[in-house]
């Protein structure tokens, strides 16, 4: 059996291991214990009938005395699941020799195991590796891989005052999103599927209840999948057949189904006239990752280029390149970058590596950059090292110029968007996400293409609506209906 990139994963905590863990954490009570036991019963899988969720993550071996009991207890669940077409991934968290646990898993009918470290070992079952973000690469990542250091998407709870979002230093509400990381992982480990592992916030907070639709949309819109994880309150409610819990579950499944119905969008490539180059590792990681995060927050559409990769084929269609790392380009990259500039491109960097005879000028007193005219293009060189990621993101947007924006949001409040295009460049997709619990109202999406209409897709409806655009030269405005969580606008044409 191989790992299947179409799996829709969900954590399924149950059995002796979970009960022991909760007991140790002193969070176990009678209701929770009852719920965890119930989730281990085959009948609990009824919940998944009619949903696209087809892969459950279960604890399999922790190196605890309860391992054996856990594996025994799960057998009926695994058997019942297989009959329903559900795959199971067993989580193995052993410091030494997971081989025996993996073999037991194979015998019990697991489809794969999830491990923190395979260390070059080969197993009888395919392994999904759980990596630290900074270790993600084409070499380290398994066909499906997972990361744990992810944020629950939404307004940053640390910057909330009651139910009001406070502006950050950039005057926009601070939101948490894994979008930038999903895009980065897609470049660092191309062709592989990222499962984002993060838990919902404490459900006891009435002001900030978990927004499951957003957790799904923030992952899928940017090309990854969230390992669906329910909070205890929701799971308990579902176990007891609570109507409100069923409503939340129904919305969650609606969102998953929506993205499964649009799996063709997974082949779309991020659009961007700006390439951001870094190795995204070590000392360079913090600045580079935050710049990606903040460019995305400012709706600057970008492409990511891992520094070691050749630029040759990648500069087509680009207007600007942001070179973030302190390290100078290699001789080959240097030549490619200067060619790009000579042909009219803009390179933004913290050091000048162009022809020494070129004398710099200043573009604008507000921008702490010196401009070097080289051929038809320019190099913009920061007067000091890149330090503040926000400043780098702001300056980059201005140096590239808003004239080159692909999309803009008006009345954006806590919304953001992501633009992508199909491999044939005949369809363009702009996905808009609302990171607030309040529906976003009167949001206008501007796209830099003169298109008369778009197909509007929403999580809540099966069919698309036709949304008429309003000419807003050099592009078009689309007034969006109230936006609870997510919508997507699909454009077709030859001028996208």
């Amino acid at each position: 059996m191989n790992l299947d990139s179409k799996w829709v994963p969900m954590k399924w905590p149950c059995g002796p291991l979970e009960i022991a863990r909760r007991n140790k954490a002193k969070s176990l009570n009678a209701d929770l214990k009852e719920m965890l036991e119930a989730c281990g019963q085959p009948s609990s899988l009824e919940l998944l009938k009619g949903t696209p969720i087809n892969c459950l993550i279960v604890d399999w071996a922790n190196g605890k005395p309860e391992d054996s009991a856990q594996q025994q207890a799960l057998k009926p669940l695994l058997d019942a699941g297989r009959r329903l077409g559900i795959s199971f991934v067993g989580k193995v968290a052993l410091k030494e020799g997971p081989g025996a646990a993996v073999a037991a898993g194979r015998a019990a009918g697991l489809s794969a195991v999830m491990l923190a470290d395979a260390s070059g070992q080969s197993f009888d079952l395919p392994a999904i590796l759980q990596l630290e973000r900074e270790k993600v690469s084409a070499e380290t990542a398994s066909t499906i891989f997972s990361t744990k250091e992810n944020a629950w998407p939404g307004l940053n709870l640390d910057t909330m005052n009651g139910d009001t979002a406070m502006a950050g230093p950039t005057a926009s509400p601070w939101v948490n999103s894994n979008g930038w990381f999903s895009l980065l992982a897609g470049k660092l480990a191309p062709g592989k599927t990222l499962w984002l592992d993060f838990d919902p916030p404490d459900s006891s907070s009435l002001l900030h209840p978990a927004n499951y639709g957003l957790a799904i949309a923030d992952s899928r819109a940017y090309g990854s999948r969230w390992i669906i994880t329910l909070d205890d309150g929701l799971r308990a409610g579902l176990t007891k057949g609570n109507a409100q819990a069923k409503g939340v579950w129904g919305k969650l499944c609606e969102a998953v189904t929506f993205f499964e119905n649009h799996s063709e969008w997974e082949a779309f490539e991020p659009q961007g006239i700006l390439a951001v180059i870094s190795d995204f590792h070590g000392d360079n990681a913090y600045l580079a990752e935050e710049v990606l995060n903040l460019l995305n927050r400012k709706q600057v559409q970008f492409q990511i280029v891992e520094r070691s990769k050749s630029l040759q084929a990648r500069t087509q269609g680009l207007k600007a390149i942001l070179w973030l790392d302190k390290e100078a380009p290699s001789a080959e990259q240097h030549s490619q970058l200067l060619d790009f500039v000579r042909q009219g491109g803009l390179v933004i960097a913290a050091a000048y590596w162009g022809p020494p005879e070129v004398k710099p000028t200043r573009k604008d007193p507000s921008l702490q950059y010196m401009m070097y005219n080289v051929g038809e293009g320019q190099m913009a060189v920061s007067e000091g090292e890149f330090q503040s990621p926000d400043q780098v993101a702001v300056d980059t947007h201005l140096l590239v110029s808003r004239r080159n924006d692909l999309v803009r949001l008006y009345n954006p409040e806590s919304t953001n968007c992501h633009s992508s295009i199909d491999p044939g460049h005949k369809k363009r997709l702009v996905q808009v996400l609302n990171y607030s619990l309040k529906p976003a109202d009167s949001v206008t999406l501007w796209v830099n293409a003169q298109v008369g209409s778009a197909r509007l897709w929403r999580l809540e409806t099966r069919d698309a609506l036709t949304l008429q655009g309003v000419a807003a030269a050099p592009g078009s405005d689309f007034g969006l209906p109230p936006l609870p969580v997510y919508c997507a606008l699909e454009f077709e044409g030859s001028n996208l």
Binding site: S366, R408, Y410, N411, A473, G475, D477
Partner: protein
């Protein structure tokens, strides 16, 4: 009230009176006799090419712009308040709470046609030192349209030091109402003619916006903003002009002092914004006189100065222009259905002092319609009652 088509001679005379007031500002007493003025009202229902024709006729009714601008550097303060991505519903800011780019382009074109040598577009965009062209692009304006409307057009963000080496100091004739003077971006000094290009709209704090309140935005937030340092101007604007609204702090020590520092901080009035903002505006138009006031009321909004005040889109179909900002605003108020002689407690000044009265007190101009000649469409025919729509 007189409704006449005025002569160029009268227009120039009025201009001379205004300019003379500026030159004589250190000795100007309060409540002096103010010059009679004239204001043109034009009807124009859409932001199409017709704007050029209507504005051109209005300038002719004022006596023409040639004598004022020929061979001169003209600075135009645009009204682009708030963030560039904020809209009233789905409507772009130009048709609701900003001056419309078509009116800006038409003005630039007509100024160039009248012989202006250099035209500078100015604004102090909200909490940013970014180039003004980028701020415009954010709102989906095309700065190249303005560059194409005249031979030499420049842009400057005046919310900070900008292209200048130092701030220009403008003292208020007679000593000022709130501050003895104001330190502004060099652009407000490095010009021969100053134009206020405003929107016909109300204002939550100051009652009305119009051509005088538009000048509130000439103050750089590096000095007058929430985040300005205590001693010297900041390098970039941090925050808005909260101190003028809350009277909770004074500008840096390097700026001209307050007339009465005791009314700030703990001694501030109960409605500090309604007290301070109109006075600052009156000070500013006395210290930095407006030579030409233009108000865009073709499409606009009611209820306040921007979408954040909860407002409604309306189409009065009006343009207003005059050589005196107090008189022009008085006609603007009358066109909005307000009495320009109104003061605190009376619409639209329910919770604030009248900027018009304060500016009149400083000798900037008259708000008395009986002393204002109205050319073009009579007020009675053009009135669009902002509180009855």
């Amino acid at each position: 009230m007189m409704t006449t088509a005025c002569s160029r001679r009268k227009f120039i005379a009025a201009m001379g009176a205004t300019a003379g007031a500026w030159l004589a500002r250190p000795a100007m007493p309060l409540a002096r006799t103010v010059p009679a003025s004239r204001v043109a009202v034009g009807t124009c229902h859409e932001y199409g090419p017709e704007v050029v024709g209507v504005l051109g006729n209005m300038f002719d009714q004022l006596g023409g712009l040639e004598e004022l601008v020929r061979g001169k550097t003209v600075a135009i303060k645009l009204n682009m308040t708030g963030l560039a991505n904020t809209r009233l519903g789905y409507l772009p800011p130009g048709i609701t709470y900003w001056v419309h780019p078509q009116v800006v382009g038409a003005t630039v074109h007509l100024l160039a046609k009248a012989g202006a040598r250099r035209i500078r577009l100015l604004e102090s965009p909200w909490v940013t030192a970014e180039p003004l062209e980028e701020f415009m692009l954010h709102a989906n304006w095309e700065p190249r349209d303005f560059l194409g409307a005249a031979a030499r057009v420049e842009f400057e963000n005046t919310n900070y030091l900008g292209n200048g080496k130092k701030y220009s100091r403008f003292l208020v004739p007679g000593g000022g109402l709130m501050f003895k003077g104001y330190d502004l971006n060099h652009s407000y000094e490095d010009c021969d003619v100053f134009v206020s290009l405003a929107k016909l709209k109300e204002h939550k704090t100051a009652g009305v916006t119009l051509s005088m309140k538009n000048c509130f935005g000439i103050t750089p937030c590096t000095i007058y903003g929430d985040g300005a340092p205590e001693d010297e101007p900041g390098l970039v604007p941090l925050g808005g002009r909260g101190p003028f609204h809350a009277m909770n702090r004074l500008p840096p020590k390097s700026a001209p002092p307050a007339v009465n520092a005791n009314v700030f901080l703990s001694n501030a009035p109960k409605d500090p914004g309604g007290y301070c903002v109109p006075r600052v505006v009156a000070d500013l138009v006395a210290a930095r006189p407006v030579h030409l006031a233009i108000i865009d009321g073709i499409h606009t909004m009611t209820g306040g100065e921007g979408p954040w005040t909860g407002s409604r889109y309306v189409q009065p179909g009006l343009l207003v222009a005059g050589t005196n900002c107090v008189a022009t605003d008085a006609v603007g108020m009358a066109l909005m259905g307000f009495d320009p002689m109104a003061d605190r407690g009376t619409p639209p000044f329910e919770t604030c002092d009248s900027t018009l009265r304060l500016a009149e007190q400083l000798g900037v101009g008259t708000r008395d319609l009986n002393q204002i000649e109205v050319a073009g469409t009579p007020i009675a025919k053009a009135r669009f009652n902002f509180r009855s729509v």
